[in-house]
């Protein structure tokens, strides 16, 4: 990371626009990873209940979100 980039990052650290945009990007990344691993878990024979517990959500929630993809 160049000094210019570090400076820019520091300067924008408390700017809500930057921060919210980063939160959005992180949420999209988290969604991508979750989906990837849920499908991976199902392929390996995990039950919806086991997946739900790992994600700390209800079985219904995870089933509703992903069942149609499988």
């Amino acid at each position: 990371m160049t000094d210019a980039k570090t400076l820019t990052a520091a300067a924008s650290a408390d700017d809500p626009r930057t921060g919210l945009r980063a939160a959005l990007a992180l949420r999209r990344l988290a969604d991508s990873l979750e989906r990837l691993q849920v499908l991976n878990a199902r392929r390996k024979g995990w039950s919806w209940q086991e997946i739900a517990e790992a994600l700390e959500v209800s079985r219904q929630a995870v089933h509703k979100k992903y069942a149609k993809e499988l």
Partner: protein, 176 residues
């Protein structure tokens, strides 16, 4: 409002919805409408577009590229947190293969009209009114796309189209 659309204009909008859905885009904008118009060989509008130098394949590429820049924005945004998205993606792809992380970025389900798309349809109506036509046809849709100055207009500009000339051409065609 759709009751004042000609059958072909309705088909264009329907086609635009399918295009956006096929491309996995969440919102339907004037760029999808433009692509739908460009791909209709028998229409006067697609003829005007062809003669303005617009090729459907180039439009498709431009529309796809516009929606991909979201990825670049995410990379930059995550960099502000010290997260290297490219590195994360590479790590995941080591295990799961190329494009493994791209799944949910593809929106599933019916795309919804973006604010810009709504504005474009409203402008198409206004064009029809302005030109004293009692219907909204494909040509008014295209005029609306040009006037909206949004995604579709930007795609045309990026392809080097003289938008003002195209507008004049469409208006004269109508008068004929």
């Amino acid at each position: 409002m759709f009751e004042r659309f000609t059958r072909s204009a309705r088909l264009v909008v329907g086609e635009a919805v399918e295009i956006a859905q096929a491309m996995g885009h969440q919102q339907l904008g004037s760029d999808h409408m433009l692509l739908a118009l460009a791909g209709q060989p028998a229409q006067a509008t697609s003829q005007a577009l062809t003669e303005a130098g617009v090729q459907p394949e180039r439009v498709r590429e431009a529309v796809a590229a516009r929606h991909r820049t979201e990825d670049v924005d995410d990379e930059e945004a995550l960099r502000t947190l010290g997260i290297d998205l490219a590195a994360v993606r590479a790590k995941v792809e080591e295990t799961f293969g190329e494009g493994a992380l791209d799944g949910p970025r593809r929106h599933r389900g019916r795309p919804r009209l973006s604010p810009e798309g709504k504005k474009t349809l409203g402008l198409a109506l206004r064009e029809a009114v302005r030109l004293e036509d009692h219907y909204i046809g494909a040509e008014h849709l295209l005029l609306g796309i040009l006037r909206a100055g949004g995604a579709g207009h930007d795609v045309l500009r990026s392809l080097g189209v003289d938008v003002a000339a195209l507008r004049r051409r469409l208006e004269t065609d109508r008068a004929a």
